[in-house]
Amino acid sequence: MLAFSFNDTLLVATVLFSIGLAGVLVRRNMVFMLMSLDIMLNAAALVFVGAGARWHDATGQVMFVLILALAAVETAVGLAIIVCLHARGRPTLDADTGNLLRG
């Protein structure tokens, strides 16, 4: 089953990472931003697993677990904030408008 070389993993991860980055940059909806973040984190996780496989080292998957936890935490907190902002008059979830903090 081990069909992926580290190189291929990197390729996929890089593309995935870039897509996630583009998503963060282009989407104004905060929910989509969070999703794009998840994609980026997944790309990073993929690299770890690929590298772990390359060195035959379980550390990569340990890192994967950590990243998973991080993603969960970020998503949870992020969604909590989104809900909160939504409740306080930011109905559009637009990250660009209604900025109070600037300049």
Binding site: F6, L10, A13, F17, G20, L21, V24, M30, M33, L34, L37, M40, L41, A43, A44, A45, L46, V47, F48, G50, A51, G52, R54, W55, D57, T59, G60, V62, M63, L66, I67, L70, V73, E74, V77, G78, I81, I82, C84, L85, R88, G89, A95, N99, L100, L101, R102, G103
Partner: protein, 480 residues
């Protein structure tokens, strides 16, 4: 294997136990005061046990943690800062009185300590995230809910991006070296040079984000402005110390890889100029402090790119000076706030402070001048050290920008002092100007540290003059 022989630096242990205790206390009965008390006690304990650890010191490179004088120095700084911030926010009107607050402060401290002690990417990255997530929570503790949440949101998304970049970089490094040791990746075997380079750059980008070096700095002013004053101080101080400590640990006292030189120089110049120029026209005090803190990170990075005999001492002194001064500014700002009156977050509110609140104005001037590098404040000596390191390495370009930046910085710091000296615009409303006693004590202590540190830098900084990394260099012995 699991048990008493695991190597854990004592402060880390104490702080995490403290968190547990606080949780337990909360479960028993919710009480903010008790939370603060518990946290303070645990921090004091942690400070006293700095330098101790459980288990035996691992000799190999596989350890998760490391402990030496450098960690002791930065850990003390971090815990001291948290202590001050605890004191500031104890009865702060600007902070919601919830018992999550001390808990999150402690969690943030734990994260920062983890970063400081880490010898492995894992605790480093986890510490970073613990700190980040705590800050996300902390910034929402202000009474002005929407800015707080907006700040948290911005921080979340941006730190998410930077975390992803950092993780990707770590992944590449891991792929190159097969190890998660906390050091720049060196190509092993057939791996081409480009990959470790890319890994280093991405890790640096992640670190620079936390450090708020210039292209990655934009979150800092917004987050600090959205946060209550003590939290802003926390963001400005604790996370900076932690990340800088890690940065120094990461590269050690050795020269940075040559390919980094141009990038670092560029980042330093951008950071100094960007921070200072952006600070020039700020009306918001916290925002101004945010930009000035960005500029100070630029100065610190100068010392960072000048490794050698002076570096460790210079960096620690500058960090200490920056910490104390920034804390002083924020403490004074906090003390300035009057319930129902000005909260001190806008420079214009300080107009006439020398006549209405001379003590606070004097303290604030001292802190600002020290930040600007004017004697007798400790900041003078710190900046002197930076310049010395720069001259030693003949970083002429950087020194030029150091001077230009300092002059611009002087201008906006002095502008605040000037504002405070101006005649008050309105007859001041009779408000309760009683300062909280703990704040008074804090402000006095910080001022004394600034002055005494400036007058007797050798005595004050002696404990902070360690070799930053394992005692490999021979020249370091002469520094103390």
């Amino acid at each position: 294997m699991i048990g008493h022989d695991i190597f854990v630096p004592a402060p880390l242990l104490v702080v995490s136990i403290g968190i547990m205790v606080m949780l337990a206390a909360t479960a028993w009965r919710r009480s903010v005061g008790r939370g603060f008390l518990c946290a303070t006690g645990m921090l004091l304990l942690a400070i006293t046990v700095v330098g101790h650890h459980t288990g035996k010191v691992p000799d190999g490179g596989d350890s998760l943690f490391v402990q030496d004088r450098w960690t002791a120095c930065t850990a003390i700084l971090i815990m001291f800062s948290t202590l001050c911030i605890m004191l500031m926010s104890w009865r702060d009107a600007g902070v919601t009185r919830e018992d999550e607050y001390p808990l999150l402060l402690m969690l943030g401290t734990l994260g920062a300590l983890a970063m400081v002690f880490s010898a492995n990417y894992m605790p480093f990255f986890l510490g970073l995230e613990i700190l980040g997530v705590s800050i996300m929570g902390l910034v929402t503790f202000g009474h002005r809910a929407v800015p707080g949440h907006e700040a948290a949101m911005k921080y979340l998304i941006l730190s998410g991006v930077s975390s992803a970049i950092l993780l990707f970089g770590i992944g590449l490094a891991y792929g190159v070296t097969g190890s998660l040791r906390f050091m720049p990746p060196i190509a092993a075997g057939a791996v081409p040079a480009a990959l470790p380079v890319a890994a280093t750059i991405m890790i640096l980008a992640g670190m620079f984000f936390k450090l708020s070096a210039v292209p990655f700095h934009m979150w800092l002013p917004d987050v600090m402005e959205g946060a209550p004053v003590p939290v802003a101080a926390f963001v400005a101080v604790v996370s900076k110390i932690a990340i800088f400590s890690a940065l120094v640990r990461y590269f050690g006292t050795q020269n940075q890889p040559p390919f980094l030189d141009d990038i670092l120089c560029g980042v330093i110049i951008l950071t100094i100029m960007g921070g200072n120029l952006m600070a020039l026209r700020q009306a918001g005090f916290i925002r101004l402090m945010a930009y000035s803190s960005i500029a100070h990170m630029g100065y610190l990075l100068i010392a960072f790119v000048c490794p050698g005999r002076l570096q460790s001492g210079v960096v620690s002194v500058y960090l200490a000076a920056y910490t104390v001064n920034t804390l002083g500014v924020f403490a004074a700002m906090d003390a300035f706030a009057i319930p129902g009156g000005p909260d001190g977050r806008v420079v214009a509110q300080w107009k006439g402070a020398f006549s209405s609140r001379p003590f606070l104005a004097s303290v604030m001037s001292l802190m600002l001048l020290s930040l600007a590098g004017i004697p007798p404040g400790i900041g003078f000596f710190a900046k002197f050290g930076i310049a010395a390191a720069g001259v030693e390495h003949q970083r002429d370009l950087l020194l030029c920008f150091l001077i230009i930046g300092s002059i611009i910085g002087l201008y906006y710091y002095l502008n605040i002092v000037r504002t405070m000296m101006a005649a008050p615009a309105l007859p001041s409303v009779k408000l309760n100007r009683q300062m909280r006693p703990e704040l008074t004590v804090l402000v006095i202590v910080l001022s004394m540290i600034v002055v005494i540190g400036g007058l007797f830098p050798a005595r004050a900084i002696h404990p902070f003059l360690p070799p930053p990394v394992a005692p490999s260099g021979t020249g370091d012995g002469a520094t103390h």
